[in-house]
């Protein structure tokens, strides 16, 4: 849901790293996003292509790995992972209650880039 601002932040960071390495082009950018980060890969790629147009990153391909979200049930205190966190009404697989589940992992990590020198 906030792909635009993350794409901008990541774009700036990648540009810095590429400049430090005196890269001619950036070929690949690898990200890991938590299932709770609110990042939709397709939407992110869409903005990325617009942002990088006519820059040294214009040929760069984005690889996004989604990690599971770690949740804790407030009712039965059991912990579990889910792959897709688009619905806040997550049912606990142990006690079947909903709306009792939280996790704070909303991380987005820029893992690595591959450049051409």
């Amino acid at each position: 849901m906030h792909e635009v601002s993350y794409a901008e932040q990541i774009f700036k960071l990648v540009k810095q790293y590429a400049a430090n390495q005196k890269a001619k082009k950036v070929l690949k950018v690898y990200l890991t996003v938590s299932a709770m980060s609110g990042i939709e890969p397709d939407s992110f790629r869409f903005y990325w292509d617009i942002l990088t147009k006519e820059t040294e990153l214009s040929e760069s391909k984005i690889y996004i790995q989604k990690t599971s979200a770690h949740l804790i049930c407030k009712s039965c205190k059991k912990e579990f992972d889910i792959k897709d966190y688009s619905d806040p009404y997550v049912q606990c697989p142990f006690c079947q209650k909903i709306n009792t589940v939280v996790s704070e992992d909303t991380s987005i990590t820029l893992n690595k880039i591959i450049i051409e020198k």
Binding site: H2, Q9, Y17
Partner: protein
Amino acid sequence: MIMKKTINIEESILDENTNLGHEIRKKLDLAKVFSLNIMASPGAGKTSLITKTIEKLKTRYKIGVIEGDIVPIDVEKIKKMNIPVVLAHTGGSCHLDGVMMLNAFKKLDLDSLDILIVENVGNLVCPASFYLGTHRNVVISSVPEGDDKPFKYQTMFRNSDVVVLNKCDYLEIEQFDTKNFEHGVKLQNKKVKILQTSCRTREGISNWIEWLEEEIKKNLID
């Protein structure tokens, strides 16, 4: 010859914004400014609560406002009250972030202020994820939106310091279960204070002002 090279980075992206938030907080503390980040859905009464606050406090405190928006409609409302106000243009983005705040600071004389009120973009989702360095998070929910909002927008309510239930004059005509609403808020955040206001009838505004002044005092001691 073309040479390919892998550069390992492993840098967290949310952290960058959090670091900017810390930088902002330092600037605010240095200038002795108490700040609020006001978040709500569009139409819940963010600007109305801000103008009511200004009316009540402008003789005792110097107040400044940052408006996170794409058009200057709310900015004009604040300007009419002779209050320094800056439009933090979000460029269509759904929330304010640290960079936008620091840009807005360039057009504000922080040293001349006692209170800075930041009106975030009308949205119950994205603003909750971006720490702005402000001292307190205020979430406004209004009666016509329904009592299920704390259940749907959990992060927003979890990160709040006070929840203002606005348009409480509608409680008589809307099917709004106040107990369910309060239960939803407390599920996310046990300690949070819940206040009822109506910016239209001015009901409860004095309780809001009382809370705000209490928090200003607490912050001075901290």
